[in-house]
């Protein structure tokens, strides 16, 4: 008798409870699966449309061609790829040192009050729509740089890249700062206890201990720079130009068309569905996807190699 009621206690609510738990399980699984599904479908869609493009245009000439003139049916993707790389490289040169230094300041040097002012200010910077940055690059930055003596075209990759760099600074600084703040104080104390200065502790202890987080901030920021569209369309121009290694400054000072800008062009031009000009968008998109993807892989490798884990 006693045993039976005990059993009943153990099993009474079990049925409803198990059903509920199952429901939660599937609900959560559904959400997780949805993100995977969306990602996969995007890649598949891109691939399918890209295949349609490659039926009309030779893939080899697409990937090795150094001229892009979509309205005339010349589809060589290299000028677009190199323009994208130029923009990414210059924006990295702008954003990585400034962003990292800002993160060190916020995490190691700033007083609590200073931090409470600066952090939100940086986050506002991150919230400005990119179209505003594009406008600033075109209307202010380019004229300034010209006044400063640079022989810039009205549309040029230099202003565009600098502005992209400014745009991604908050990304670098905010994520890096989180990584640095997460370094335990005991490590800082160990450094100070050995007679290290604040700068030595920051560079020799905190940054190495936070390096994997700092690296991920670079990866995220650069992926953002690669995919950035509005600024390069507005300030960089729409004219595809192959990278000229013999005259590196010319690449920056003249207009150029990045992959993203070329995709905008394909959408906004008169090209109608079914033409190679229209489908070129998907081929570029797929190329862009692989560029970002391989960059992420590479950066993860580098981060893993320099990782200094703390407990």
């Amino acid at each position: 008798m006693g045993n039976e009621s005990f059993d009943a206690d153990l099993t009474r609510s079990a049925h409803g409870q198990i059903a509920k738990e199952r429901l939660y399980h599937w609900l959560l699984f559904f959400c997780a699966a949805l993100t995977v599904f969306v990602t996969v479908s995007i890649v598949v869609t891109l691939a399918v449309d890209a295949v349609a493009f490659f039926r009309q245009v030779d893939a080899l000439s697409f990937f090795t061609g150094t001229e892009w003139e979509s309205s005339r049916g010349t589809f060589g993707v290299l000028p677009l790829v190199t323009a994208t790389l130029v923009v990414t490289a210059v924006s990295a040169i702008v954003a990585i040192p400034i962003g990292t230094a800002a993160a060190v300041y916020l995490s190691e040097y700033a007083s609590d009050r200073m931090r409470s002012v600066l952090k939100p200010a940086l986050e506002i910077l991150a919230g400005i729509p990119t179209v505003v940055y594009g406008y600033l690059a075109l209307v202010y930055l380019t004229p300034w740089l010209r006044k400063g003596g640079l022989d810039l075209s009205m549309f040029n990759l230099l202003s565009a890249s600098i502005m992209v760099g400014i745009m991604i600074i908050p990304m670098v600084s905010s994520i890096s700062e989180d990584a640095m703040s997460a370094v335990p104080d005991s490590l800082r104390e160990a450094g100070y206890g050995l007679g290290a200065t604040k700068f030595e502790v920051s560079t020799g202890v905190v940054i190495p201990a936070a390096v994997s987080g700092i690296f991920s901030s670079y990866i995220l920021a650069l992926s953002r720079a690669i995919g950035e569209t509005m600024i390069v369309v507005m300030a960089g121009g729409m004219q595809a130009r192959m990278l000229d290694l013999t005259n590196p400054f010319a690449n920056l000072f003249n207009s150029g068309q990045t992959m993203t800008a070329a995709m905008v062009h394909a959408v906004t031009s008169d090209a109608t569905g079914g033409t190679p000009e229209f489908y070129s968008m998907f081929a570029i998109g797929l190329t862009l996807f692989f560029v970002t993807f391989s960059m992420n892989l590479l950066s993860n490798r580098i981060a893993a190699r320099y990782r200094e884990e703390y407990q």
Binding site: E189, G195, Q311
Partner: protein, 303 residues
């Protein structure tokens, strides 16, 4: 077997309450064997090299420390003898760690901390305006409560202090010697390139000790260095501390009274409220303390 003249007689007793005077101490010398107030549950070791007192290398004069509005230390006076082990004991929150951290100005890192009074190191007040805490910390090494090796290789951990202090000659040799002195070299000789975090807790703490002594400081501050270690590792660290006292002045905070009794020459007892209640030879403190409160604390009636 016990110590001769206590330190205070040559420097003058800086403490206002006058506890632990030379008279009381000589009494302890004669009485400690048979008339000890306490059960001799504390094994106060004979430390032959400590048979004579040395000059004070660190001297606190009326030190008050505040964290914001809260007072963590109340007019502490203490003279820490050179090349001896001085233990700071007391219940949690009594200010012993605070005192330790005020010696090398680690309290500077806490915004709310404020130190008043004089703290002399080699006769110079370290809180003078012209003292650079970075330079001070190069002469006063520190080992922390839980092992905190850098996420770097064992070698780089030990070399770090040399590097920041610009002592870049014979780094290899200095690293090896420090590891050897920290009784760790034999265990890690083949893995100097591996991360310091791969070591066990006890090894990590000895690594931290090696790191602290590599730049050859004059004083070694240890903030409960064995509290996160198992008994075997603890006894290794304790042996090490006794050896280190041949070359360094060691100031160790511990709340393990047996440990203080085993390894120290002098003991300072802090009690609640950040007050240094008694400072004297370790044997005297554990066998025949002046203060009733200290006796109660040591016998476990309080704290």
């Amino acid at each position: 077997m016990t110590r001769d003249t206590p330190l205070e007689t040559d420097g003058g007793d800086p403490r206002a309450d006058g506890s632990g005077t030379a008279v009381a101490d000589s009494a302890a010398q004669t009485d400690s064997s048979d008339e000890s107030l306490l059960d001799s549950s504390f094994d106060v070791e004979d430390r032959s090299h400590a048979s004579e007192d040395t000059d004070a290398i660190v001297e606190a004069r009326d030190i008050d420390v505040y964290y914001g509005d809260e007072q963590a230390l109340q007019s502490v006076d203490v003279a820490i003898p050179e090349k001896r082990v001085t233990a700071m004991i007391g219940p949690s929150g009594c200010g012993k760690s605070t005192f330790l951290r005020s010696i090398n100005r680690m309290n500077d890192l806490i915004d709310a901390a404020r130190v008043e009074g004089e703290l002399l190191f080699d006769g110079k007040n370290v809180y003078d305006d012209d003292v650079d805490p970075v330079a001070l910390r190069r002469k006063i090494g520190m080992v922390f409560q839980s092992p905190n090796p850098f996420p770097k290789s064992i070698y780089d951990n030990v070399a770090y202090g040399l590097e920041v202090q610009g002592k870049t000659d014979d780094v290899d040799e200095k690293v090896h010697r420090a590891l050897e002195r920290a009784a760790l070299l034999d265990e890690v000789e083949d893995q100097l390139d591996e991360s310091g975090l791969e070591l066990s807790g006890g090894q990590q703490q000895r690594l931290c000790i090696a790191r602290a002594i590599a730049p050859d400081p004059e004083v070694l501050l240890m903030d409960e260095p064995a509290s996160a270690l198992d008994p075997v590792a603890t006894s290794k660290v304790e042996d090490l501390i006794e050896e280190l006292a041949e070359d360094y002045t060691v100031v160790i905070v511990t709340h393990n009274m047996q440990q203080a009794a085993r390894i120290s020459d002098k003991t300072a007892v802090f009690l609640t409220g950040g007050e240094l209640v008694e400072f004297d030879d370790t044997a005297k403190i554990f066998e025949n303390p002046e203060s009733q409160r200290v006796e109660d604390y040591i016998t476990g009636k309080f704290g």
